[in-house]
């Protein structure tokens, strides 16, 4: 680190024009004052003042540009018959034909239907669980006990999907604990891990185990933000525990709930890739093929790059439209949504 006297030596000359006089006694004016100050001045003086901030931002922006935005351009191969030996520049253009193939590809539609069924199923059977769990956790009064339980239920969120699927296999697989117990008691063993009929239950159970606990964190924060005087006033007026839950707690959670619902709806075409990638072989394509695994197996593995890029583009654009629609609906219902109307 630089020596402390470095501070005094390099006197700043870039303070810029003096800010407008402060309005005393109003909180929040500091930031606004800073903004007003910041926008004054010529480009050069602003650069002199802000070059260090720019320099700090460059690496992150560079990485995002390279790994998020450059690949977007790579989507042009969806309109080509791309071959890696020829390169993007010289691969022949084929217009929309990849998309036409896709529209008549039954396996693509099967994957889409699987994806949407899983999303819908989890919307009903997974999505409300973090709220219930958060309300339950919030009612634990002893702070240390509560912290302990929170610590335990958050934890599986940090395990990899490989690990989660492995744990489930050890519990419910053909050689797992459940089958073992059943066999010990004279029943025939079960193998839930390879049964396509119950696959949707299995993946939902895995998701619940991994993420329902972590999902409570945002609802717990929203619960903590509810004014306790509301509860007191209601109780004094004779509202029962359940009425307080209905009239104070749930309305207090509504904005967060709607926000997460929008995000989930906008993300309807993503059900998580690794979870399905890992289990597709065991239960088979019919039940476990989702859009992301479709892209991987149909294209990356077979080298049909352009076809896969077309599928990815369709999925990306559809996802974008979904998120914009969901947000629009939220605005219509008077909620804030993910971005503000401006």
């Amino acid at each position: 680190m630089a020596a402390p006297d470095h501070l005094a030596v390099e006197r700043s000359t870039d303070a810029g024009p003096a800010g407008s006089p402060a309005v005393p006694g109003r909180p929040g004016t500091t930031r606004r004052r800073a903004q007003e100050r910041a926008k004054h001045g010529s480009l050069r003086s602003r650069f002199r003042r802000d070059w260090q901030l720019l320099l700090m931002t460059v690496p992150a922006i560079g990485l995002l540009l390279l790994f998020h935005y450059v690949p977007l351009l790579g989507n042009v191969i969806a309109f080509q018959d791309y071959s890696p030996y020829v390169g993007i520049k010289d691969s022949p253009w084929v217009g929309m034909s990849n998309f036409q193939w896709l529209m008549f590809d039954e396996s693509f539609w099967d994957a889409t239907i699987n994806t949407l069924s899983i999303t819908t199923f989890q919307l009903i059977f997974y999505f409300p669980l973090p709220i219930l769990l958060a309300i339950l956790l919030d009612s634990v009064v002893r702070p240390r006990l509560r912290l302990f339980i929170q610590g335990i239920v958050y934890m599986p969120h940090f395990f990899s999907w490989v690990l989660v699927v492995t744990l489930f296999q050890q519990m419910f697989g053909g050689a797992g604990l459940l089958a073992q117990i059943l066999r010990d008691h004279g029943f025939s063993g079960v193998d839930i891990m390879t049964n396509p009929d119950t696959f949707i239950l299995l993946v939902t159970a895995e998701t619940v185990w991994k993420d329902a606990g972590w999902g409570t964190i945002i609802f717990l924060a929203a619960l903590a933000a509810i004014n306790p005087h509301l509860y007191e006033a209601a109780a004094v007026d004779g509202a029962s525990r359940w009425r307080r839950l209905w009239h104070i707690t749930l309305p207090g959670l509504r904005p967060v709930f709607v926000l997460l619902l929008i995000l989930r709806l906008g993300d309807a075409l993503n059900v998580g890739f690794e979870q399905f990638f890992l289990q597709r072989d065991a239960v088979g394509r019919d039940a476990a093929e989702v859009l992301d695994t479709f892209m991987y197996w149909r294209t990356l593995l077979t080298g049909e790059w352009s076809y896969g890029a077309a599928a990815g583009l369709v999925k990306g654009v559809a996802g974008l439209i979904l998120i914009l629609i969901a947000n629009k609906v939220a605005h219509r219902f008077g909620e804030q949504g993910i971005y503000k109307r401006s």
């Binding site: 910041a38 901030l53 977007l72 797992g176 974008l320």
Partner: protein
């Protein structure tokens, strides 16, 4: 016990139902982990007596771990995972902290377009196939950097961190600025020491991401000597129990006698768990403070 005066006393039935439900939830998380760790520490006799996973502790042994650490696939994959996690987390955290601070002052030069660029990545991913083509055209196939660079910056983490920095009152940094301190110095000496919690949480997010990285490794690494632990876990534990026995015969584990194969498998699972279990308690207390404030405001 801090029950407000107006609250009803919990009924005995209500309290016991609640306690039971919470106990079941905690058990559902801990029990599988307990069984896996116990089985990995059991002798062959204990495992075959249990007929599978061990639930009641019998004879214990470190045999499985000794075999695994004798050298071979698993040892190497742990080294790979640790290396990628350490290097990746340091890189990600540095880049994210710098950019979060660089974007924390609205009105600075290019602030709006750069922030927009970051936020826009929330709306769409780069796509699997174009990403693969990019990584391969950068010559990163079979390079460990392919596991680090594409996921090095996460917009979510950046935005959470930035929201936290923006909450630091400007008066705190202004005096240093008037004294002529550079922005780097202000960040290092003033802002970061005030942001230990959020830095720890974001660091954990990145570290866990690298440690758990699985798909990028299968996608970008063809050379199986470079596999990280998660890929090894999938190959040897999830995909085929018989395949593992084949692997133990050759150099994979070293020429030792075969220990109980289930114990070895569970030892691999345990090794994949341990770093998370060790680091997690230290970071957990910062979760609500560090993350949620940022997330709600961001």
């Amino acid at each position: 016990m801090t029950m407000p005066a107006w609250a009803e006393r919990p009924t005995r039935l209500g309290a016991s139902v609640k306690g039971l439900v919470l106990a079941l939830i905690v058990a559902a998380v801990l029990f599988p982990i307990y069984m896996v760790v116990l089985t990995s520490l059991s002798t062959q006799e204990a495992v075959s007596k249990a007929g599978g996973l061990v639930t009641v502790p019998g004879e214990l042994s470190f045999g499985a771990y000794e075999q695994l650490f004798a050298g071979g696939v698993v040892t190497r994959s742990i080294a790979v995972s640790l290396g990628v996690t350490v290097v990746g987390t340091l890189l990600s955290l540095s880049v994210t902290v710098l950019a979060a601070y660089g974007l924390s002052r609205p009105g600075s030069l290019l602030h709006r377009p750069m922030l927009f660029l970051v936020l826009l990545t929330f709306l769409f991913g780069p796509g699997m196939i174009p990403s693969y083509l990019l990584v391969s055209s950068l010559g990163l196939i079979d390079s460990y950097w392919a596991l680090i660079l594409p996921t090095a910056v996460t917009a979510f983490n950046l935005v959470v961190m930035r929201a936290f920095f923006m909450n630091i009152p400007e008066e705190v940094t202004d005096s240093a600025r008037i004294d002529g301190a550079s922005e780097f110095r202000i960040l290092w000496r003033i802002v970061l020491p005030m942001s230990k919690g959020v830095t720890a949480v974001i660091g954990l997010f990145y570290a866990v991401g690298y440690w758990n990285a699985f798909f990028n490794a299968t996608l970008y690494l063809n050379d199986n000597t470079k596999w990280p632990l998660q890929v090894v876990l999938r190959q040897f534990v999830l995909q085929g129990q018989s395949m593992f026995v084949g692997q133990t015969g050759d150099t994979a584990i070293g020429g030792h006698a075969l220990p109980p194969s289930l114990a070895i498998q569970m030892a691999i699972v345990t090794l994949a768990l341990i770093p998370v279990l060790v680091i997690y308690p230290f970071v957990q207390k910062h979760f609500t403070k560090g993350v949620i404030i940022g997330a709600v405001k961001g």
